[in-house]
C-alpha cells in the first residue's frame, strides 16, 4: 500500500510543477505590464516603477523569478490581494469553508437521491419507470445550472416565497465563526432561528449544485447494478430464497458501489466548476464567487493564487479517491 501511495505521489509531482508554472505564467501572459498589474496601480512615476520592479523581483532573470515564486509558495505566501490588501491564502481560508459546506451538502443530496434512483431504474430495467428515471437523469446532466438556479429562485423565492434569494444567512444574525461551517456554528451559538435561516439559505444552492452529480451518480449506479445483477452470486442469492430487497440492497449493491464511489470522487472537480456558477447566482460567499469577482476586479494575484489552490485541492482529492479505490479493490493494490 505504501508503495502505491508513493508511486501515485510521484506521478503527481510533474503535474503539480506544471500547475505552478501555469499560475506563474498567468500574470505574464495577461495583456499589459505585469508589474503594474500586480501592484494594481496605473501611471506611476519611474522611481515608483523601479521600486515595484525590485519588490516583485522583475529585475532578475525569469527562472530566478520562478524559483522565488516557488520558495514563497512553500512558505504559504500566495501574494497579496490588490483590492483588499489581504494575503491571498488568508482570504482563501476564510471563504473556503462556505464552498466546502455547499459542496458537501450538494454531494450528499446527489447521493441520497441519485443512488436509489439508479437502483430502482436497474431493478425495473426496460420498464416505464426505468425510462422515466433515465430520461430525467439525462435532462439533469444536460442542465445549464445557472438557468436552473434562476428558475428555482423564480419559483421558490418569487412565487411561493419559501426561500431567500441569496446569501448564506439572514443579515439579522451575527454568528461568531468557530468552524466556518454555518450549519455547525449556528447550532453552537444560542441565537434562536439562526440554524433555520442557514438551512433555508442552503436549500436552493444545494439542489442547483447537486443536480449534475445526481444525474451522473444515477446513471453510473444503474449501469453498475445492471452488470452485477447478472452475476452468478446474485442468482445464487436468489436461489437461496432471499428476499428481493436483500438481494438487491445488500448482495448486488455492495459490489456495484466501487465504480459509483469512483464517480463520486471524480465529481469534486466538476463541483468546483459548478460552484463558480452556483455561488454567483446565489451570492454565496465562497471560493467560486471570489474567483469570478476577482477576475472582474482585475485582482490578478487573487486569481493566480486561487487557481493554484483549487488545482492543488482537486489533485489531492483525486489522489485520495485513487488510493481508496486501491483500498477497496485488492486487485489494484497487488498489481502495482
Amino acid at each position: 500500500m505504501l508503495r502505491l501511495i508513493l508511486k501515485k505521489l510521484g506521478l503527481l509531482i510533474p503535474t503539480f510543477i506544471g500547475v505552478t508554472l501555469t499560475s506563474f505564467f498567468f500574470i505574464r501572459l495577461l495583456p499589459g505590464d505585469p508589474v503594474l498589474l500586480l501592484a494594481g496601480e496605473r501611471g506611476v512615476s519611474p522611481e515608483r516603477y523601479q521600486d515595484l520592479m525590485m519588490q516583485f523581483g522583475y529585475d532578475k532573470p525569469i527562472w530566478q523569478q520562478y524559483l522565488s515564486y516557488l520558495a514563497n509558495l512553500v512558505q504559504g505566501d500566495l501574494g497579496t490581494s490588490i483590492v483588499t490588501k489581504q494575503p491571498v491564502l488568508q482570504e482563501f481560508m476564510t471563504l473556503f469553508p462556505a464552498t466546502v459546506e455547499l459542496g458537501f451538502c450538494a454531494i450528499l443530496f446527489a447521493i441520497l437521491v441519485g443512488l436509489p434512483a439508479g437502483i430502482i431504474a436497474a431493478v425495473r430495467r426496460g420498464k416505464t419507470l426505468d425510462h422515466t428515471v433515465m430520461t430525467t437523469a439525462l435532462a439533469g446532466y444536460s442542465m445549464p445550472i445557472f438557468w436552473w438556479g434562476l428558475l428555482l429562485i423564480i419559483l421558490f423565492s418569487g412565487i411561493l416565497g419559501w426561500t431567500p434569494v441569496s446569501g448564506r444567512i439572514s443579515v439579522l444574525y451575527w454568528i461568531e465563526p468557530v468552524t466556518g461551517f454555518l450549519l455547525i456554528d449556528t447550532l453552537l451559538s444560542d441565537e434562536p432561528g439562526a440554524f433555520t435561516s442557514a438551512v433555508s439559505h442552503l436549500i436552493l444552492p444545494t439542489i442547483v449544485l447537486g443536480t449534475i452529480p445526481l444525474a451522473v451518480i444515477a446513471r453510473q449506479t444503474r449501469s453498475a447494478m445492471l452488470e452485477v445483477l447478472d452475476e452468478d452470486y446474485v442468482r445464487t442469492a436468489r436461489a437461496k430464497g432471499l428476499s428481493n430487497f436483500r438481494v438487491v440492497g445488500i448482495h448486488a449493491l455492495r459490489n456495484a458501489l466501487i465504480p459509483v464511489i469512483t464517480i463520486i470522487g471524480l465529481q469534486i472537480g466538476v463541483l468546483f466548476g459548478g460552484a463558480i456558477l452556483t455561488e454567483t447566482i446565489f451570492s454565496w460567499p465562497g471560493i467560486g464567487k471570489w474567483m469570478v469577482d476577482s477576475i472582474f476586479r482585475r485582482d490578478y494575484p487573487v486569481v493566480q493564487g486561487g487557481l493554484l489552490m483549487i488545482a492543488a485541492i482537486v489533485m489531492l482529492v483525486n489522489l485520495v479517491v485513487d488510493l481508496m479505490y486501491g483500498l477497496v479493490n485488492p486487485k489494484i493494490r497487488h498489481t502495482e
Partner: protein, 299 residues
C-alpha cells in the same frame, strides 16, 4: 433499406453505415434527439427568413412585453420582448446559430488538435509521449470551467476567445482517447503488415491506424459538442463569452437576470432552448455510443 444492403455487395463502408443506422434507429430517444437537432439546424440556417424581427432592433414602445398568450401580450412579439424591447422569439432563433457554430468550431478545433497530439504520442512514445501527456494532465488538473474562465480573462472576453478557451480545456480528452486506441492498434498484425510493406510513418498514422480509432472519438465528439454549448453559455452568462447585443442564449440570460421576478419569460425561454439543445445532442451521443460500440460505458 434491406434491398439496398443486398445490392451494394462489396461496398463495405455503405454496409457499415446501414448496420449502424439499424442499431441507431432502435433507440427512440436518439432518433428524437436527431430530429430535434436537424430542426435546429434548419432554424439556424433559415433564421433570416423565419425570424419575425431583427434580433437587435429595439422597439422602444414595447419594453418587457409578456408572451402573446399572457395578459398584455401582443401577437407580433410571440414570446414577448426583453428589457430594451427586442423581440425574444427572433433572438432565440438567431441564438441557435451561435450555439451550433460554437459546437462545430470547438469540436473541430479540439478534435483535430487532440487527434494529432494523440497520434504523435501514441505512435512515437518515449519522451514526446511523456511531455504531451504531462501537459494534458496539467490542463485536466484544473476544473474546466474555471480554466476556461481564466483563459478568457487572459485573452479578453469575446465569443472567439471563449471558443478557443473551451477547445483548449476539451482537447485532453481527445488526446487521451486517441493515444489509448493508437497504442492498442499498434500491436495488431495489420499495422505490422503495413510497416513491413514500407508504409511511411505519416501514412501509417493517419491512413492505416486512425480510421480504426474513430468509434470512441465520434462518441466523444457528440458529448463534447453538448459540453461546448453548455460551457459557452455559462461563459456568456458570466459576461465572458459572446458580448451583448449578440443574441447568444447564455448572454441573453445574463442580461435578463435582474428582471427574473418581474418578467420570468425573459429568463425562461433561453434556458429552455439551451436545455433542449444539449439534451438532444446528449441523446444522440448515447445512441451513437450504443450503436458504435456496445462495450463503451459512460463515465
Amino acid at each position: 433499406m434491406t434491398d439496398v444492403t443486398q445490392n451494394s455487395g462489396p461496398d463495405t463502408r455503405f454496409e457499415l453505415l446501414v448496420s449502424f443506422w439499424k442499431h441507431f434507429r432502435t433507440n427512440k430517444g436518439a432518433v428524437a434527439g436527431l430530429i430535434f437537432f436537424l430542426m435546429l439546424v434548419g432554424i439556424a440556417l433559415g433564421a433570416a427568413f423565419i425570424a419575425p424581427h431583427s434580433p437587435i432592433v429595439q422597439y422602444r414602445d414595447a419594453l418587457l412585453l409578456p408572451p402573446a398568450w399572457q395578459e398584455g401580450g401582443n401577437w407580433s412579439y410571440v414570446l414577448g420582448t426583453d428589457a430594451v424591447g427586442r423581440d425574444l422569439l427572433s433572438r432565440m432563433i438567431y441564438g441557435s446559430q451561435f450555439s451550433l457554430f460554437i459546437g462545430v468550431v470547438v469540436v473541430s478545433v479540439a478534435l483535430v488538435s487532440g487527434v494529432c497530439l494523440g497520434l504523435v504520442a501514441g505512435t512515437f512514445g518515449g519522451w514526446i509521449d511523456t511531455i504531451i501527456m504531462r501537459i494534458m494532465d496539467v490542463i485536466l488538473a484544473f476544473p474546466s470551467l474555471l480554466l476556461a474562465l481564466v483563459l478568457v480573462a487572459v485573452l479578453g472576453p469575446s465569443l472567439l476567445n471563449a471558443m478557443i478557451a473551451i477547445a483548449i480545456v476539451q482537447q485532453p480528452y481527445y488526446v487521451r482517447l486517441t493515444r489509448a486506441s493508437v497504442m492498442s492498434e499498434m500491436s495488431r498484425e495489420y499495422v505490422m503488415a503495413a510497416r513491413v510493406s514500407g508504409v511511411g510513418t505519416l501514412r501509417l498514422m493517419f491512413v492505416t491506424v486512425l480510421p480504426n480509432c474513430m468509434a470512441p472519438l465520434i462518441v466523444q465528439a457528440a458529448l463534447s459538442f453538448s459540453t461546448a454549448i453548455l460551457d459557452a453559455a455559462a461563459l456568456g452568462f458570466l459576461g465572458m463569452g459572446a458580448q451583448p447585443p449578440q443574441p447568444e442564449w447564455g448572454t441573453m440570460l445574463a442580461e435578463a437576470r435582474e428582471f427574473i421576478l418581474r418578467a420570468p419569460w425573459v429568463v425562461t425561454f433561453p434556458g429552455v432552448a439551451i436545455l433542449s439543445t444539449v439534451l438532444a445532442i446528449n441523446l444522440i451521443g448515447d445512441g451513437l455510443r450504443d450503436a458504435l460500440d456496445p462495450k463503451l460505458k459512460r463515465s
